[in-house]
């Protein structure tokens, strides 16, 4: 009685507001992913890892002496940092190293894969599952490293996982903050400090940013089958995103107070690989203005709206809610020309996982199409008591 209700009831409406919904590639660029996926999953997935040491030291300084040319290499290894939570497969895994230095196109998958052949073989090392800890020392052929030093050529190593069973692991990349490094001794004298070689790529010439990305990257030899074109897909390899453009009645955005907005999706099961694993999906708001008309390009110009991720399993199915309240807060302040009413759904570990979520698109039957449910209140006149 003393505290009467002032605001009206919340109105809930569900509308077919989707104008465009499509799957677009995650054009983040080769080598920009924070992890390097090394996987051998039979006929389903085969990914390789390339690390580039384009500059090798030619001299070293023995303890208490002056610089002299390197004439021997001892105990050469590359140190990787593993995401141990990403490791799959209980059986031993053999990691083979190949010389993948080539004058062919830097980013040509076909050219690179052709170099994983016996005459390019450098070395291999087998690890039991228990040996795959967060720091992995991968020993490579000393003679191969010495030959590269003495010939003043680049050392570009391609890694491939093999073994009796499936295996998969994620190596933290330079973008992830822990770049692989190579260590070796230039003398058997253990009192002399080992040399450290950092990743470096000198190609493509004149494109320093791209070259920096290519110091370590993943090559997809075989990926899971892509989703049908009529299906919306998030994640997978190569990574994809979902772009959705809405047409929302302006009176709702401008004149009402939206208290909740939910994108209603129908998930389709994808049993291709690890259907019970969890994928974290992050809705993002599209920041590209009306000048960017291509959804594939607009889907790259995005911003975060929430820290709350959506957790889904690829094998799951049925209705799924994506909360978009924060997007409406921004849309309320900007006109559609400046800030289109569009969002992107992307995987949190985009490009680092073969897991792919699939959803019904607007090409599906009416009941399964994406829809938008908006809950709003009308403004209250703050007048006389």
């Amino acid at each position: 009685m003393l505290c009467p209700q002032i605001g009206g009831d919340v109105q809930n409406i569900t509308i077919d507001a989707v104008v465009v919904d499509t799957t677009v590639p995650a054009l983040s660029g080769l080598g920009t992913e924070p992890g390097l996926l090394l996987a051998s999953r039979g006929d389903t997935l085969d990914t390789r890892v390339v690390v580039r040491f384009d500059s090798l030291p030619a001299t070293f300084i023995p303890k208490g002496d002056t610089a002299r040319p390197i004439t021997s290499v001892d105990s050469a290894y590359v140190q990787f940092i593993l995401d141990t939570l990403s490791i799959k497969g209980a059986e031993p895994v053999t990691i083979e190293a190949y010389d993948v230095d080539t004058t062919a196109n830097d980013t040509s998958t076909a050219a690179l894969l052709s170099l994983f052949r016996p005459d390019r073989f450098i070395s291999s090392q087998t690890f039991a599952r228990a040996e795959l800890t967060d720091t992995l020392k991968y020993f490579i052929s000393d003679s191969a490293v010495l030959a590269k030093i003495q010939s003043s050529t680049r050392l570009r190593i391609g890694l491939r996982a093999t073994g009796p069973g499936s295996s998969q692991m994620r190596i933290i990349s330079s973008e992830g903050g822990f770049p692989p490094e190579m260590f070796f001794r230039a003398t058997p004298d253990t009192t002399t400090k080992p040399l450290t070689v950092s990743l470096l790529s000198k190609t493509p010439i004149g494109e320093s940013i791209l070259a920096a990305n290519l110091i370590d990257y993943t090559v997809i030899a075989k990926g899971p089958p892509p989703a049908p074109p009529s299906v919306l897909a998030v994640g997978g390899l190569p990574a994809r995103r979902v772009y959705i453009l809405f047409n929302i009645p302006s009176n709702i955005i401008d004149s009402s107070t939206v208290v909740r907005a939910t994108l209603l999706l129908n998930q389709l099961p994808n049993m291709a690989i690890d259907p019970t694993d969890t994928v974290f999906v992050l809705p993002q708001i599209v920041l590209a203005g009306k000048a960017v008309t291509d959804p594939a390009k607009a889907a790259q110009i995005i911003g975060g709206i929430t820290v709350d991720t959506l957790k889904l399993k690829p094998g799951g199915s049925g209705s799924t809610n994506v909360e978009l309240a924060s997007a409406f807060t921004l849309w309320h302040t900007q006109k559609p020309d400046t800030l289109p009413r569009a969002i992107v759904l992307k995987s949190v570990i985009e490009g680092n996982s073969p897991l792919e979520l699939r959803f019904s698109s607007s090409e599906d039957v009416v009941a399964l199409r994406p829809r938008l449910r908006i809950s709003y209140t009308s403004k209250v006149p703050l007048g006389l008591p």
Binding site: G383, L384, P385
Partner: protein, 380 residues
């Protein structure tokens, strides 16, 4: 008057901390609570002596009795408990209800400028209710918070004339002004799913009135006072838009004092306020009632402490508050006690009063409040 800056500065300087917060209450219906314009001295006597008190913003004739120029400040926090069938809530409302300056001009004239709280609407209510937001099964707890800060203040310029203590007369010109800042929020529990919203508004008030007061002491032991205020239009506007208007309530009062008991003053007062003239400034569900305000009290010389004679006071008051609840009048009974002490060779004085007020509206809602008033007079 709501927290004038210089008063606030003074009180902060001397380390008075206050919390401005309130819940819905019987006394805060409509345009708010009438603080009354009584000084701590007058409150201590149940208002009985208000028409004779220069520092109560009631009768302009009383200004003539001040004797010397003075500045008066008052702080009056209220500690309130509202009890309903579903529970109770304790709140505090800090008020600075009165500031006044008095300046004698020559032998016969006295000028006074005061600012007093006319209707204080400061309050905050929280209402929790279940609300479906989203799907049919998505029921969440929605909290509605309505916060109002501000008051309508009475600024009075008074002029009194007196050539002898037997007769005093005064006139006052009143400007009523103030604003209510309203913030309405709807708060949801999960910020990842829901957007809490807030709306803000401001209502400004402006109006004028005139007052007249007469004080007559036919003998040394008896005194009478009459005063009246004739209200003009009171307009309300939001931004540049007029949203309503009404008449400031006419106010009439009559008082008597008896000083036949050595060292003591017995006083009584009756007043009438035509609050219903404000009905047009309220929503249809809010009703203002004309009301009587009666009070009586005793002021007597008390013990001598630190070579100062302490004045003791006690009184009782009964009045009808302006705005009702659900069509029922809200009445207020209060009992008061207090004291006054001269300071610095009578160049200043401190008056303290405590009132216990009970309010009811014929429902199961009860309200109890303790109002502590501290008034400080300084004569430069």
């Amino acid at each position: 008057m709501r927290k004038p800056y210089f008063v606030a500065t003074v009180f902060v300087t001397i380390s008075f901390a206050s919390r401005i917060e309130a819940q819905g209450a019987l006394s805060l219906q409509g345009l708010g609570y009438p603080a009354g314009g009584f000084s701590a001295r007058a409150e201590g006597t149940g208002g009985g002596i208000a028409d004779f008190d220069a520092f109560s913003s009631v009768s302009p004739a009383a200004l003539a009795g001040v004797g010397s120029s003075a500045l008066f400040l008052q702080y009056s926090p209220e500690f309130r408990r509202v009890t309903t069938a579903s529970g109770s809530a304790n709140t505090t409302t800090a008020r600075f209800p009165l500031i006044e300056g008095v300046l004698p001009i020559g032998e016969s004239w006295t000028l006074g400028l005061s600012s007093s709280t006319f209707l204080d609407r400061s309050s905050e209510t929280n209402l929790k209710r279940a609300q479906i937001v989203g799907g049919p099964t998505d029921t969440v707890s929605l909290t509605e918070r309505n916060k109002v800060l501000g008051a309508i203040d009475d600024f009075r310029l008074g002029l009194a004339w007196s050539t002898s203590p037997a007769f005093r007369i005064g006139v006052g010109a009143h400007a009523f002004a103030g604003s209510n800042r309203i913030t309405f929020s709807q708060l949801f529990p999960d910020s990842a799913k829901f957007i809490s919203s807030a709306q803000a508004g401001r209502i400004s008030y402006a109006g004028f009135a005139g007052s007249l007061g007469i004080e007559w002491h036919p003998s040394r032991v008896i005194g009478f006072a009459l005063s009246g205020r004739k209200g003009g239009d009171l307009r309300a506007q939001s931004g540049d838009t007029a949203i309503g208007s009404g008449r400031l309530p006419d106010h009439y009062s009559a008082s008597a004092t008896f000083e036949g008991i050595p060292g003591a003053t017995v006083s009584a007062r009756v007043a009438h306020d035509n609050w219903s003239s404000l009905n047009s400034l309220s929503s249809p569900g809010i009703q203002a009632f004309d009301g009587w305000d009666t009070g009586a009290g005793l002021e007597a010389s008390g013990p001598r402490i630190l070579q100062r004679i302490i004045t003791l006071r006690a009184g009782a008051r009964f009045r009808t508050l302006p705005f009702g609840l659900n069509g029922e009048k809200v009445s207020e009974k209060s009992f008061a006690a207090g004291f006054g002490a001269p300071l610095t060779r009578d160049r200043a004085s401190l008056d303290v009063a405590i009132q216990r007020a009970s309010r009811s509206a014929g429902t199961d809602i009860k309200e109890r409040g303790f109002i502590l008033s501290i008034g400080l007079r300084v004569s430069p």
